[in-house]
């Protein structure tokens, strides 16, 4: 060990720049597959309730008669089971995280619009 070794270390530290990411000034890496939060499109939903029946944490509650869909995001573990099982692609996972909350917020609530009646069949019901 001598002056040369410590000189190399010092110059690497002074001129090398930081070796870690300056988070949060520099945003974190996010990839396409990152499971951030759940997003729902009510216009594609046909109220089959598979997402409610197969959610591992029972975070989604769907009411068939009232045609409502709600999700407790604090219970959701973003596993993506509902996304895989939804037959009409009404659910998908976004790569960004929701912002932190101080109190437990209410659930995300949607009313699902009734589908337009088909002219030849004389009105199609929404039931599967």
């Amino acid at each position: 060990m001598g002056l040369l070794t410590i000189a190399k270390t010092i110059s690497r530290n002074v001129f090398g720049g930081p070796v870690t990411r300056r988070y949060p000034a520099e945003p974190a890496n996010r990839y396409d597959l990152t499971r951030g939060h759940l997003a729902f499109e009510p216009e594609n939903c046909r109220v089959c309730r598979v997402c409610m029946l197969r959610c591992p944490t029972q975070a989604i509650v769907v009411d068939r008669e009232a045609r409502t869909w709600e999700c407790d995001h604090f219970r959701c573990i973003t596993c993506g089971n509902c996304v895989d099982l939804c037959p009409t692609d009404a659910l998908h996972l976004e790569p960004t995280y929701r912002s932190p909350e101080a109190d437990r917020p209410g659930k995300e609530f949607h009313e699902i619009p009734a589908p337009p009646p088909k002219p030849e069949a004389g009105g199609e019901t929404a039931e599967t």
Binding site: T20, N29, L33, R54, P56, T78, G80, N81, D84
Partner: protein
């Protein structure tokens, strides 16, 4: 005759990643006996299996632990596939192997950092975790999450990884290799680390075998037992040797885990060279009936998922026996005779993952 006092260790302690309680019976500064007490994070996950469809339960099984979560999910899927005798596509088996080894890399780097922190060597802790970020980036870009991957399902895996991406992962790990060797040289050759860890918490070979040690605790005492040799997933087509040390003390356990980093990099390279083309999942119909013991090598040792099913979509019994649970007995034995200041180092050297131990 010195007086004996009882000092409680835990459940909150800076060195413990999860809460465990030990009552240390002390004479002056030496530990005479240690009584463990667990149950601080018992969540009853094994009972939840009676209420969830067996295909959805994989998301709960992998949340038994955050650090070793992929291997829990994979072992559960392996258990269900063993009962139903499903022909899982080979590409899925190879992908599971690659992710298991990435999971082992990040877990060992995490542990090396915690070990350095428990000795007070904080800058080494930060360097280990900085190298771990590279592995976590690989996991996030291929599975979607850094620690709880959620990519295993009954019958295969949920996402495919392109061959080009797999080659990029191998190339990135080869760039990481000299930095890991630098890190390992500090653990192996630094005087303070050797002085702190050598001769501490010795578990002899006979004790490790009889008391039920698992994983690096067994391998550091001279027994070449690595459950990857039984050939689950794609391990029967890959070539590796278990890393064995003979001293049985904390230093030997550190060496075993540091050398296993390089075994993992070699296994990933071999798996990516041999991975076949094909689908990555298969359609699963019907319900399981029967029982199966699925065994895997987690970073901490041997984990067993015992699944019993009776033909309905809820399982009858799901039992997880994790390596930390069975390493409690060697821990209590090797704590006898050491000084109070060394207790955190010895407790950390078995790699306690109490979330796994208690489910």
């Amino acid at each position: 005759m010195s007086r004996q006092i009882v000092i409680p260790f835990g459940p909150q302690h800076p060195v413990l990643p999860e809460p465990i309680h030990l009552d240390l019976v002390m004479e002056d500064e030496r530990v005479v006996d240690a009584l463990p007490s667990i149950g601080y994070i018992h969540r009853g996950l094994e009972k939840l299996v009676e209420k969830r469809d067996y295909r959805d339960f994989v998301y709960i099984a992998e949340r038994i632990c955050g650090i070793c979560s992929f291997i829990h999910g994979m072992t559960y899927c392996h258990a269900i596939e063993g009962i139903m005798d499903l022909p899982v596509p080979p590409r899925a088996l190879y992908l599971r192997t690659v992710w298991s080894e990435l999971s082992r890399l990040h877990s060992h780097l995490l542990w090396l950092g915690l070990m350095a922190d428990s000795m007070g060597f904080e800058s080494l802790f930060m360097q280990s975790w900085r190298l771990r970020e590279h592995v976590l980036d690989d996991l996030e870009s291929t599975t979607g999450n850094r620690v709880i991957q959620g990519v295993c399902k009954v019958g295969g895996v949920r996402h495919d990884v392109s061959n080009q991406k797999l080659n990029e992962i191998v190339a990135g790990l080869e760039v990481l290799r000299p930095q890991l060797e630098d890190l390992m040289s500090v653990f192996v050759r630094d005087d303070t680390v050797r002085h702190r860890l050598s001769g501490l918490g010795v578990v002899t070979e006979q004790q490790a075998w009889d008391l039920g040690g698992a994983g690096p605790v067994l391998r550091a005492s001279g027994i070449a037992n690595d459950i990857r040799q039984i050939g689950y997933a794609a391990y029967d087509e890959l070539d590796f040797k278990p890393v064995v040390e003979t001293a049985g003390d904390c230093y030997a356990r550190t060496l075993v885990r540091a050398k296993e980093l390089f075994t993992s990099i070699d296994l990933i390279r071999q798996a990516v060279e041999k991975i076949p083309e094909g689908p990555v999942d298969m359609k699963v119909t019907g319900n399981p009936k029967g029982e199966f013991y699925a065994r895997s090598e987690q970073p901490r040792g041997e984990v067993i998922h015992y699944v019993k099913a009776n033909g309905t979509k809820n399982l009858v019994r799901f039992r997880v026996r994790t390596p930390t649970f069975t390493n409690i007995a060697p821990l209590v034995t090797c704590l006898k005779g050491i000084e109070l200041a060394d207790v955190p180092v010895v407790v950390l050297s078995i790699d306690p993952c109490i979330g796994c131990a208690e489910r």
